[in-house]
Symmetry: C2
Subunit: 244 residues, 2 copies
Amino acid sequence: MPTVSSEELAAAAGVNSAKLRKDFSYLGSYGTRGVGYDVEYLVYQISRELGLTQDWPVVIVGIGNLGAALANYGGFSARGFRVAALIDADPAMAGRPVAGMPVQHTDDLEKIISENGVSIGVIATPAGAAQQVSERLIAAGVTSILNFAPTVLSVPDGVDVRKVDLSIELQILAFHEQRKAGEEAAAAGSAPAPSAPSGDGGVADAPGGAGAAPVAAVEPPAGRAAAALRKNGPEGEVPAVMPA
Amino acid sequence: MPTVSSEELAAAAGVNSAKLRKDFSYLGSYGTRGVGYDVEYLVYQISRELGLTQDWPVVIVGIGNLGAALANYGGFSARGFRVAALIDADPAMAGRPVAGMPVQHTDDLEKIISENGVSIGVIATPAGAAQQVSERLIAAGVTSILNFAPTVLSVPDGVDVRKVDLSIELQILAFHEQRKAGEEAAAAGSAPAPSAPSGDGGVADAPGGAGAAPVAAVEPPAGRAAAALRKNGPEGEVPAVMPA
DNA sequence: ATGTCTTTGTGAACGCGTGCACAAAGATTG
DNA sequence: CAATCTTTGTGCACGCGTTCACAAAGACAT
């Protein structure tokens, strides 16, 4: 297939064809009217604009389970990223091979960054170490950080940080799951609970699962908040930890 | 701190206080005018609406590096998720403990799902196995899937899928990194390259790093696309693989 | 070479989310 | 109890992104 029309591409991606054309137009006029877009040329243009044609050296700091998984992750090299070094604060880790590469100690962080011309760092340390690591990375010349630690990093202007919270995705799924269960229970004839899912008796059964339903996980609050609960809360059930 | 105002909360979160109040209002009128929101009660209400007050059993399928990292990830249990089982297709993995839990074989997938009332599944398998695994999970009663495999899953209506692509985050960072370098080069006096970053000579130096700059990673295209390139492309450089 | 047909590129309208601004509500003080 | 002060809850307007719709451009057939 040498060329594609915006219509075909839009259908495949599940978006509007006009939006797709407008987005492409920001890259320049790479299409041919009456024909469409030359596939190979389009791929090249998008890749170039996205920075995929360059080889980006990255360092991973914190070689625990997640760090090791990231080091082994094949998707990175497929997209033009090269893991230049693995760094960990644990002296016992130093020299141990992970993903065919020896782990280096944090002491050499600055040296590693500058020798490899690294501008992107990945932080997979425990939450407590993340801020300090980010500061050292930035001081050594890193200007983009991918943060897997459950902390908000404060960084100077000009430094990009993206935070990935693996449990947030699960929370979003659980939220919809709860909604499904609530609607199901409402439709089954219980108390309607129009907008907010009931969260208690309504969800007696996991939808499609066996009888074992999710059960309350935490104790109800005591003290003044409990009073507040009784004041106008629907019914006393359970609070939970908001932060990670 | 028993209560918070929308103003304080908004400042801490870096958002507009009006938006925050409007968002809260969708949950109900839980604030007190002249005072603010009761912290503990607010936490409880949000937790409940988000489904955090329930204990959600999840299974992780595919215990490679990533699967093992997820199994060990502390953030899940902190948010009300409980890893009910680890499942892998490799017979050699069966019985081996990961994160203090024996890995079980794919053969028992359906049994595990139904016995634990699991409605959320995590797929951390290679891309090739993901679709098939998702079908078995769904058939067994799972209605929400968190997909780490680099494939688009096709699922029936009523099933939620969220895809996490770890390299996409890096791509976004690299994109901004390239923009920074492009602007820097433009400001330094080279050819302006107003909207699109130049991507070639302009990025001679990693910003802040040492002299070692990112270098071209792939070969230029040949054949008809190469002709197209020469037709109106800025200059021949390099294409790259778009899909993972 | 001329006409027709396909598909792009984009101006204009629509819709939605965000932010402003204020009235209502309740606490607090004298 | 009245007055004042704080903070919520929300109607309204602005701005941005998405979508529609169409003129311009180029391929292709005659």
